[in-house]
Every structure is written in structure tokens, then in C-alpha cells.
Amino acid sequence: MASWINPNETILLAMLAGLLAVDERAGWQSLLSNPVYIAVLVGLLLGEVRVAVATGVALELVWLSILPMRGSRRPDIVSGAVVGVGTSCLILRHTADPRELLVAAAGVFSGIVVGHLAGALNRGVGRVRGRSLARFEIPAGAGAGPLVRRLLAAQYLSLFSYFITAALVVAIALPVTVFLGDRSTGWANAPVVRGAGWWVQLLPAFGAAALVQNYWHRHLNRFLLLSAGLVLVVLWFR
């Protein structure tokens, strides 16, 4: 393992992931738990905002097609984004690799893989949590006090389970992805760097595809096309 992986930074990012996971799964989903905002937070924490935002935007656009509806098999976007963006920032900060697109590609790849593995883990943890909550019983004895206390305890336990799952995933995955990312970017030759760069530049197309798919209805496609046309004209003649 590379000696420059700082345990304090790993713990800091793990705690951040834990807090954001509580917001994402139990809270009001304040957007801070989405990759584009996670990128800004992690970038500011690690002092590498530029590559962080490049990685975060790519992850956001890839995951934009998966709406947070109940029943959808969602990846764990919080753990995935913290690991992905953290990987990019740590590799760049400690190696000062000038090939920013390659570093971002390493982060995006790590983020997607970790997000999907952690998503599967979350579903398992969720089943255990669900089974324990389904066994919730009204406590014997008169008075609402014990019931209110039991509800509060269940809520805190549930929030803690969200926190600890995401924190552990990040604490375990981040050093591994940083190590592997550092090694693979070190080995990458010119064609690989070029290919990885193309990949990162193509990823926004997935976000665009998700939006086209989402809004391609009889009453909405005219807004989509009109706006796209207008913005293209403005950008072209700017």
C-alpha cells in the first residue's frame, strides 16, 4: 500500500460518507449526497476541486438515469462518489500527475464499481434492518412513554446503521482504489491515456441520454429540443 495514504484523510472521508448516507437514505435528500455536490465537498477538503468536480460530474451524469424511486436497484451513490472523487483527488495530490483526464477516469471507474458493490451490500444490510424493524412490537404496560422511547431508539439505531455502512465501505474501499488507481495510472502508456480521456469525455453523453429518455414525451420534447437549440446557438456565438 502506498505510504502516502493518510489514515486521517481516509477517516475524514469515511465520516463524511456516513453523514451523507444518513441524508440520502433517512433524511430529506438535500442534494449534498449527490456526486456533483460530494465532489465539491471532497475537493474542498482535499484541496483538489478541479479534478474532483470533473470526476463528480461524470459520476452524476452516469447515474442520472437511475431515479431514486422505491424498488429501483440503485447503486450506493454516496459511497461510490466519495470513493471515486477521493481516489482522483488523492492520486493527483500525491503524484502531481499532469494527465488529469486519466486521473479522473481512474476515479470515475472506481466510483462506479464501488457504488454498485456497495449498493448490493446496502440491500443486504437493508434486509436485516427491515426484518428487525418488522419485528417492532408495542411494549407491554400502560403509558406511551416506553413506546416513544422504543421508537426513538429504533430511529437512532437505523440512522447509525446507515452511517456505519457507508463509513465502513469508504474506509475499506478508498485505500484499495487509491492504491490500484495509482498503480494503473503509473503503468498507463500514451494510447491508454488517450482512451481513458475519450472515455471521460464521452460519459456526459449518458446523462444527456437519461434526460432525453426522461423528457421524450409528446408534450415535453418540444421544450427539450427548443431549449437545446437555443443554448447551442448561444454557446456557438458566445
Binding site: R25, A26, G27, W28, Q29, L31, L32, V36, Y37, V40, V53, G56, V57, L61, V62, L64, S65, L67, P68, M69, P75, A105, F109, I112, G130, A134, I138, A142, G143, A144, P146, L147, V148, Q155, S158, L159, P191, V192, G195, W199, Q201, L202, L203, F206, G207, A208, A210, L211, V212, N214, Y215, H219, L220, N221, F223, L224, L225, S227, L230, L235
Partner: protein, 257 residues
Amino acid sequence: MVPVTANASASSALTRLDLLRVGLRCLFFQGLLHVRGMQNLSLMHALAPVVAKLDRDGSKKLLSKHLQFFNCNPNFAPLVAGGVLRLEAERLLGTAVTDQDVAHFKKAVSSPLAAMGDMLFMGTIKPMALTLACIFAIYNSFTGLVITWLLYNGVVVTCRLWGVYFGFRRGWEFVNVFSGSAFPRLLAIVQSIGASVGGALLAVVLYRAAREGTWQEVVSVATIIVAVTMLRRDGSAPRLALLLLPLCVLVALVSPG
């Protein structure tokens, strides 16, 4: 259905502070989500701070009857919580409200509100906010990101906190607000704005690809078409994205520098 009278004393059974305490618990409404009862424990947890005021004999009956299945959109669930509190307040003041009436109210309003909330928040407002945030992030506009975050959270937090108050003030009557033409009109407007923001991101993606060269633009358009086709067949965009990496590297290896 319980006839709702303009009962001013029912409204005064709970103070604004009481409703705020319920609203604050509604911010973490998904915390106790589970497959069997869905959000039943969350509703019980949200109502807990005011139970002493509405259940004067100090029994746990007011809370324990909500152990039955309850499922709603978390941003609209506070409306239901407020409505339940209104019915309980009316019962406290002597109106003929039975446990069946409360259960009927929950059952009648939760499913339509769940569908409406999912369409409005998860299907429209959130993707729109994220799309806008991506555009601002692409152009390194920190101010834009902060404004988007504030606007989105303003809407969601207000909905959760004010929802309890609105549900409590209106009781059954709040159904009229959602059953009329106002909600479909609001949804249509928000969806149009969402589609326009989506169009803007589409333009940004195409413009940036065109700046890299014709080849890059052609490949981007082809990727969009393939991804849309795949998404329509319930395919996974992240998996396709992962598959694309070795393909890009392979093309780079065989193509001249």
C-alpha cells in the same frame, strides 16, 4: 368520511411549535422505512412529540394504532401526519371521530399522494436540480451550485415543515387542493422547466463534444442514441459506461496517435 367543520378550537389544540416538532421529525421520515410496514414506524415517530397533548388519559393508544401499513412519498407524508393530528384534535374536542375514520383517512390519501409526490419530486424536481447543478459544475460556477442547492432545499424542507401545518389546518379539506386541476397544472409547468433544463445540458454536452472535433461529436451522438435505446429497454447506463472504457482503450491502442 368525517365531515370537517370549520372548527377553530381544533386548530388551537396544538401550537405552531408542536407542529414544528412533528415537522422536524418528518425531515428524517425515511429512517424507519421497512418492507413490511413501510413508513408506519416513521409516522409513529413523527407523531410522538404531541401524543401527550392529544391523548390526555396518557395511554399509548394514539400511537399504537398506527402500527398498520403506511406508505407515502416522504415529502407529502407530513400532510398526512398533519391531517391525522387534526382528526385526533377534533376527537379530543368531542367530534365523532373513530379509529376507523383515522385509518380510512390515511388509506385514502396516502396512495395518491405517494404517486403525486414521486412524480413531482423524484421524477421531476430532483433530476432538474441535479441537471442544473451539473451545468453549473461544468462551467465552474460555485454560486450557481449554491443557489441550486438553496432553491431545492427551500422547496423540500418547506414542503415537509409546512406540510404538517397545512394538513393540520385543513384536515380532510386538503384533498381538494390535490384533487383539482391545480396539481396537474403545477406538474406540467415543472416538467416543462425540467425538460428545458435537460435541453440545456444536452446542448452543453453536444457543444463540448463538437469543440473536441467532429469525430468526438459523432461518437457522442452515437453514444446518446445507444444509451437512449438501452434505457428504453430497462438497460443500465452505468454498466454500459463501464463496458465503454475497454472499448475506448482498445480503439486508442489500434488507432494511430
